[in-house]
Structures are given as C-alpha cells and as structure tokens.
C-alpha cells in the first residue's frame, strides 16, 4: 500500500501543518482514511492529502553564504545610532 502524507488546517486562515501519514491503496481510500484520522473529532477544518512520493524533501534549503549577505537579515540593519543622530538633528525627543 502507498503512504500518504496528511496536512491539516485547524482554523480558517491558519497554515496547513503536517498531521501524519497513513497507508491506503488509492485516492478514494486515502480520502476516507484521512477524514477518519484527522477529522473524526472535528479537529481539522481542511486537509491536504499528498502521496509521499510527490513530496520533495530538501535537507539543506540554503547554501551557506560565502560573502556577507546581511542585507537579507534583521541584524544587517542596525539603525540605532543613525536614528539617534537623526533625532538630535531634528530636535525631536527619543521615546
């Protein structure tokens, strides 16, 4: 039997999160079983059922940067000093 991955949404607007997997011979069975496993206590609003073979898993989703790429991160923007100076020039109080 094939393995199917089930993703579930708990609330409207919430992201779909992986719920678990199940075994079923085809889509019709997978649908019925997914409902049983992730919906029988009305704990899910919607489900995605995906054959495991169709999920591409990527272990290293980034290439370790060789050159500095701080412009992609929060710490690349240290505004504290500049902000202080700008406020002083404008004569507005810090808060």
């Amino acid at each position: 039997m094939a393995v199917w991955e089930v993703f579930r949404q708990e609330r409207e607007g919430a992201p779909f999160q992986h719920g678990g997997s199940l075994e079923a011979p085809d889509l019709a069975f997978a649908e019925a079983y997914a409902k049983e496993f992730y919906g029988r206590r009305a704990e899910s609003l919607a489900l995605w059922v995906v054959p495991r073979d169709s999920v591409l898993e990527i272990d290293e989703p980034y290439v370790a940067p060789v050159f500095d790429r701080d412009y992609r991160r929060v710490d690349g923007y240290s505004i504290k000093v500049k902000l202080k100076e700008a406020r002083e020039r404008a004569g507005t109080p810090a808060h």
Partner: protein
Amino acid sequence: MSAQAPPRTELLLQLADDELVLGWRDSEWTGIAPFLEEDVAFSSIAQTEIGHARAFYELAAAELDTTADELAFDRRPEEYRCAPLVELNLVHDWAKSVARRWLYETADAIRVDSLKASDWPELAGLAAKIEREEAYHALHAGMWHDRLTRSTARERFATAVDELWPYALGLVEGDQRRILCEAAGREDVPAVERGAHVEDWPALWEEMTMVRRTVPGGSW
C-alpha cells in the same frame, strides 16, 4: 413497547432496530479489521449507526413515554423489529460484511430519502440530518464495492452479495423494493422478511443486554 404501537412508532422502531443491530454487528470488527486504517473507519460507521438508532429511539420514546436506552436494551429479543439482514453474524467474513454494508446503504438511501417527505416534521428533519452522515457511509461502501468488484476477489464478493440479496430486499417494502432492484442492478426475488429472527440473533441479544440485566433499572 407492545405490539400495539401506533404505525408511525412501529416504523421508527424498525428503523432504530436496524441501525442499532447493524451498528452492534459492525462494532464487532473494532480491533480486528483487515488493516488498521480500515479498522478506524469501520468503527466510525458503527458509531454513527448507533447514533442514528439513538435519535430514532428518542423520537419513539417520546411517543411511548419511555427512554431510548430502555427501547434499545430492555425489550425481549422477539420484540425487536430489525430486518434479518442486520442480525447475521458476519464478523469472520470481510466479503460478506462489506457486501452487507453496501446493500444496506443502497436500501437505506431509498428509505431515508422517502422519510424526508414524511408529514411528521421531526422525522423528516431527522432523516435530512441522517442523510448527511449516510453520505459518508455510502462513499465508504462504494469504494469497497468498486475495489472488490475489480479485484481478484470479485467471485468471493459476488457470492457474498448474491447470498445476502434476499435479506437486503427485506429491509424495504412495497415500491421501495423495485427502486432497490434498480439501484443495485439486480432481479427481484423472494425476500427474507422482517418479523422472524435469524438464529444468530438470540446470542447477540444475550450479549448486548448482559451487563444491563444484572441490575434492572440501574444507572450505568
């Protein structure tokens, strides 16, 4: 709770007893179904059937001045109105159990559909609610029917359906039988009628009432 129940209550008891006893029979697979995913699915179906039985009993209980539990458990075995189809002990035979589910759902859809037009508003409303849950049962029965019919086990499944067909006809009456023949794509044959009970029934009744009978009128 007597043979003199008014006709509309009589009908309710038939419906309730069918759902109750089939639910009880289907629950026998809990824990020993062919594989785990199916075990969970089959158990849910047993639970919804019993839920439907309870709803029908509650409606009947209001008419008969009793309770759903008393109707479900405290009658003598011969007082139950269920069709012989649901009484059969099929727990060791998956082909027959699935064939029964498929036949039952096919017949029940016809019956529930007609109940929606009942001039008893509570019953019509209940039928509409039940129909929504039965849609899932029908989906489940259909997927097994299709799978087994297309499989190397098709003979086994066909034999099971043949054997149970006269029992399935006994679920409905009159014109509904003709509709059932069309829906199932089968010929009309002499039905195994409601009224008599099959030999598997007394043992099931014994078991389903055994705890309750130890303290008559007790609460559990």
